[in-house]
Every structure is written in structure tokens, then in C-alpha cells.
């Protein structure tokens, strides 16, 4: 499934005090464009506050955008009718970051996993089978289906959230920091699992992360975001050698795999950061 994001801008009104209330705008997304191709694993990388999660929320029309278009298979999800929105959403699965808030604390794990399936019209019998299968895939014992989220560790909660996404067999899976709460060993397992599933089920992934190792390991292409803008788009193979934007260079430099010879670039990043923050749209 193809997602085309074209010049999307999303701002939040902020400002405190009686007169300034809602008068300032902060651009969470500023003129963002990129495309998710068929059967592609796209990484979105950037520091916190750079708009990575906002993009995910916009794609699913969980929040409205100010300008631009988000097309899913050529259909604009933002202006779609309610029924069409539901239709489009049902081809996605999503895993948000922050494991403890990903699951309803009052629902047993079983209900959390089964509920989206039932909403999509899967029969209860099949839903149960799929849930058991998914639990096996994320290496969790089936007895955890009866648990409440607070009885599980953060890593287990995150694996449940991933299992919940897997059972849906979506066309596109959006993963927001899917592995940041997991042990390194489990991280590798989950990433391998995601890669296997992608081949098997011909899905596309959007993986939001700040971990370059995840990007290097699984992604076909990388979108680098910085302060709400896309500053660089590159293939996995070219980003290491040919990073153009200073922020990308800093990101690469801060990743421990690389040689520290890129250090002088940090000065350039600092300069660039200053330039970008002053050239930001004027307060309106």
C-alpha cells in the first residue's frame, strides 16, 4: 500500500495568559513530504519533539492537519467521510511508544488483543487462534493472556502491544519506538520477527525511532526529521557515507558504531540549529 505525504503542516496553538492564550503557534510538522512505497520499511528518525509521532497520528487521521494532503492509495484520509476513514484505518496497525500506557489497565491482555480483531469482523474463534499464534511469535507464554497489564514488565507490555498489531495482519504497520523498552536480546528477536513477517505478508512498515542501529538493521529508507521538518531522505546504504544535513551527521556521529573523526561537524550542527530556530516561521 502506498502512502503519499505531501507538504503537510501541523501546528499547535500555545501561549499562556489571558491575552496570549492560543496566540502563538508551534509547528509540529512544517512542510513535510515523503512517500511510503509498496512493501517498504521506512524509518523516521529524529530527536524527541521533532514531529515523528505527530506524523503517525496524522496518517491515521487521529488529528487534523493544517495544510497539505495525506493520500493512502490515492485517497485523502483527512477529508474522507467517516465510513471511508474507518475503511482506510482498518488497513493499518499501530504500536505507540510508552509501553505502560499502550494497554488499557482495566482490560485483560486477552481482551486488548481480541478487541480490534472483533471490531474488524473476525470471528471469535479465529481471533483466539490468531492471538495464541501471535503470543508465540512475540515469545510470550499464552498464560499472560489472562493477566492485567500492571502484572507485566515494560518489555512484556510492549510485546503484547506488538502482538496486538500483528494479529490484525495489516497492510501497513506503524511502529513508534517499538523496541526502545526492550532488552537488546529481545530487541533483536522482535526486529527479526518484524522482518520475517514483512517478507511473509508483504506489509510495509513505518518505524519511528531514534536508534540508528534499528534503522541500519531493518529499514530500506530513512527520513530524518528535525524540528518538524524533513531534513534528509536517504537509502539505508547511502546515509552512512553521504549524509548531507548537519543534524544527520550529528546523529551518525553520536551513534557509537562510527569513528569519532566526525566530531568537528558538531560545531556545524550547533550553528545550523541556531539558524533553523531563528528562521522558523514568525509568530503569528
Amino acid at each position: 500500500m502506498v502512502i503519499n505525504i505531501d507538504k503537510v503542516t501541523k501546528s499547535y496553538r500555545v501561549g499562556s495568559g489571558f491575552f496570549l492564550h492560543g496566540k502563538k503557534k508551534i509547528f509540529a510538522l512544517d512542510d513535510v513530504s515523503f512517500t511510503l512505497r509498496e512493501e517498504e520499511i521506512l524509518g523516521i528518525v529524529g530527536e524527541s519533539g521533532s514531529g515523528k509521532t505527530t506524523i503517525a497520528r496524522c496518517i491515521l487521521a487521529l488529528t487534523k492537519i493544517d495544510e497539505g494532503r495525506i493520500e493512502i492509495q490515492g485517497r485523502d484520509i483527512q477529508s474522507a467521510s467517516r465510513k471511508e476513514k474507518k475503511d482506510l484505518r482498518s488497513r493499518f496497525a499501530i504500536v505507540f511508544q510508552d509501553p505502560p500506557s499502550n494497554l488499557n489497565p482495566r482490560h485483560r491482555v486477552k481482551n486488548s488483543i481480541l478487541r480490534p480483531l472483533l471490531l474488524r469482523g473476525v470471528s471469535p474463534q479465529e481471533a483466539k487462534e490468531r492471538a495464541l499464534e501471535a503470543m508465540e511469535k512475540v515469545k510470550l507464554d499464552a498464560r499472560y493472556l489472562q493477566s492485567f497489564p500492571h502484572e507485566l514488565s515494560g518489555g512484556q507490555q510492549q510485546r503484547i502491544a506488538i502482538a496486538r498489531a500483528l494479529v490484525l495482519r495489516p497492510d501497513v504497520m506503524i511502529l513508534d519506538e517499538p523496541t526502545s523498552a526492550l532488552d537488546i536480546s529481545v530487541q533483536a528477536q522482535i526486529l527479526n520477527l518484524l522482518l520475517d513477517l514483512q517478507k511473509e505478508m508483504k506489509m510495509s512498515y513505518i518505524i519511528i525511532t531514534h536508534d540508528l542501529n534499528v534503522i541500519r538493521y531493518v529499514c530500506d529508507r530513512v527520513v530524518v526529521m528535525y524540528m518538524g521538518r524533513v531534513v534528509e531522505m536517504a537509502d539505508r546504504n547511502t546515509i552512512d557515507q553521504h549524509a548531507k544535513h548537519p543534524y544527520t551527521k550529528l546523529l551518525l556521529a553520536s551513534s557509537p558504531v562510527l569513528d569519532p573523526k566526525d566530531r568537528e561537524d558538531k560545531r556545524a550542527v550547533r550553528w545550523e540549529r541556531r539558524r533553523m530556530s531563528t528562521s522558523k516561521r514568525p509568530v503569528t
Binding site: L62, R89, S101, P105, R115, P116, R120, A161
Partner: protein, 277 residues
């Protein structure tokens, strides 16, 4: 089960409060067996008698047994608690959910209403309501509840607006869960601990306010064994027959104290964050 025992062992408020409320429930439930006389059984020979072996709490101006009236009065107090709090929860929680979830203008209107009723003295407001709907115990309960739902709205609204941005709610929305289902399956269950705490803390307030209105003659009417009414009619005989005021007053203090302790204990147990308010 051992968890429960541990909780009771550690939480003294909860332990004492639960026992006190249980005793109250027991008295109200078995009032027919516990009370030596009927609450409206007058005895002309024994008017305004002090406490004795026959009448432990003495008798009133009609020769009615004060002990029996205090015992039967507990039923009224509990009726006030149940009925009043149900109305408050119904209004308050519904408005709180709606305003927290839908935000915007709805939220502003509801919050304004809540702040408005919050800022007016409840007794004066409920007297105004009573002038419209008329005297009587049930009307008093309704009047009190109409003016004291705001605390539920505030707490539920705050909880709702923080819950609705949590990842599990967003995920549910992304999986095409409808708004009613989001509210009742995802948000409401997570506000219930706070609501339980508020319930046990607002019971004493409701009982006190209703008693005050009965004392003013707007609530329960004679010959009801209501404690507020008993206090009010004891005024004339206060110098000669202080037991008429002391025992209903003590029953009232006991009840309010019991529910307050229970509320404090539940708050520590279910929602420690509320303690900061």
C-alpha cells in the same frame, strides 16, 4: 485474601471506617429487631423522662422512646446517603465524561456551570431549589444533590482529559472504536477508583446538609425519626431534657465520622494522588 488482610492491617482509617460503617448498616438493617419500641409509639405517662432502664436514651415530649427513634433514624441517614450520592454521581460523572472527552465549547459550558454551583453556598442554593420543588425529605435530597454534583464533574473531567490522550485510547481510535465505546470501555472504568473515593467522601457532606435542612424544617416532616428534625424539636426542651439533643447528635457525628474515615482510607488505598488536594 491475604492481600485484603494486609491492606486492613496497614490502613487504620480503612479498618476503623469499615467497621463503623458495618455497624451502622447492621443497625439500619435490623432496626425492627434492635429498637425496643416503634419510633412513633407515644406514651403519655412517660413524657420527657431521662435515661432509664426502660428508655435508655430517655423519652421525648410525646413519650416516644429516643433510642428507638435514633435507631430508626439511621435508615433515613442511609437513604439520604444512597439516594443523594446516586443523583450526584449520575449528574456529575456524565457531565465530567462529556466535558473532558469532547473538550471545546461543551467543556467550557460545563466547567462554568460546575464552578458556578461550586462557588455558591450549598444550603442557601438548596433552600432556593426547595422553594421550587417543595418540602419533604426526598425533595431535600434532590435539592442537595442538584447543587453538589460539581466535585464529581471536576475530578472525572480532569481524569478523562488526561486519559483520552493515553496511547491505549489513541490505539483504540485507530482501530475504529466508536466514541461511546471509548467512553464506556476505556475511560469510565479507569475513573472508577476516583469516583469510589469521592462517593465515600461526599456521603458525610450530603448527610450533614440534609440534616441541616431538616433542622430548618424544610426536610423530613414529623413524625419522621430524622436526626435533624429531632435536634430541631429538642430546642424547646434543651434545658430540661438535654438527652433529646445529645443522642441524635451523637448518632449524626458517629455516621459522618464513620464515612469520613472510610473515605480517607479508600483514598489512600485507591487513589493516593488525590491526597494532594
Amino acid at each position: 485474601m491475604s492481600d485484603l488482610a494486609y491492606i486492613f492491617k496497614k490502613n487504620r482509617y480503612l479498618r476503623v471506617g469499615t467497621i463503623m460503617v458495618m455497624i451502622l448498616l447492621f443497625i439500619a438493617l435490623f432496626a425492627d429487631f434492635l429498637a425496643p419500641f416503634a419510633f412513633d409509639e407515644a406514651n403519655r405517662e412517660a413524657r420527657l423522662e431521662g435515661p432509664s432502664a426502660d428508655h435508655w436514651f430517655g423519652t421525648d415530649e410525646f413519650g416516644r422512646d429516643v433510642l428507638s427513634r435514633v435507631i430508626f433514624g439511621s435508615r433515613i441517614a442511609l437513604r439520604v446517603a444512597v439516594l443523594g450520592v446516586s443523583i450526584q454521581v449520575l449528574i456529575g460523572v456524565t457531565l465530567g465524561l462529556i466535558s473532558g472527552y469532547f473538550a471545546g465549547v461543551t467543556d467550557q459550558v460545563v466547567s462554568f456551570l460546575a464552578d458556578l454551583t461550586w462557588s455558591l453556598p450549598p444550603i442557601i442554593m438548596s433552600m432556593a431549589v426547595i422553594t421550587i420543588i417543595g418540602k419533604g425529605l426526598d425533595n431535600t435530597i434532590i435539592a442537595i444533590s442538584i447543587v453538589s454534583w460539581a466535585q464529581y464533574t471536576r475530578v472525572v473531567r480532569a481524569k478523562t482529559s488526561s486519559l483520552k490522550n493515553m496511547a491505549f485510547v489513541e490505539t483504540a481510535l485507530a482501530y475504529n472504536e466508536g466514541h461511546p465505546s471509548i467512553l464506556f470501555r476505556y475511560i469510565l472504568p479507569n475513573t472508577i477508583p476516583s469516583i469510589i473515593v469521592l462517593v465515600s467522601l461526599s456521603i458525610p457532606n450530603t448527610i450533614m446538609s440534609t440534616t441541616a435542612l431538616s433542622f430548618l424544617g424544610l426536610g423530613a416532616q414529623p413524625p419522621s425519626p430524622d436526626w435533624g428534625l429531632a435536634l430541631s424539636s429538642s430546642i424547646l426542651y434543651l434545658m430540661n431534657a438535654p438527652w433529646l439533643a445529645i443522642f441524635p447528635g451523637m448518632a449524626l457525628v458517629y455516621t459522618v465520622f464513620a464515612f469520613n474515615l472510610l473515605g480517607e482510607g479508600l483514598r489512600d488505598l485507591l487513589d493516593p494522588r488525590l491526597r494532594a488536594r
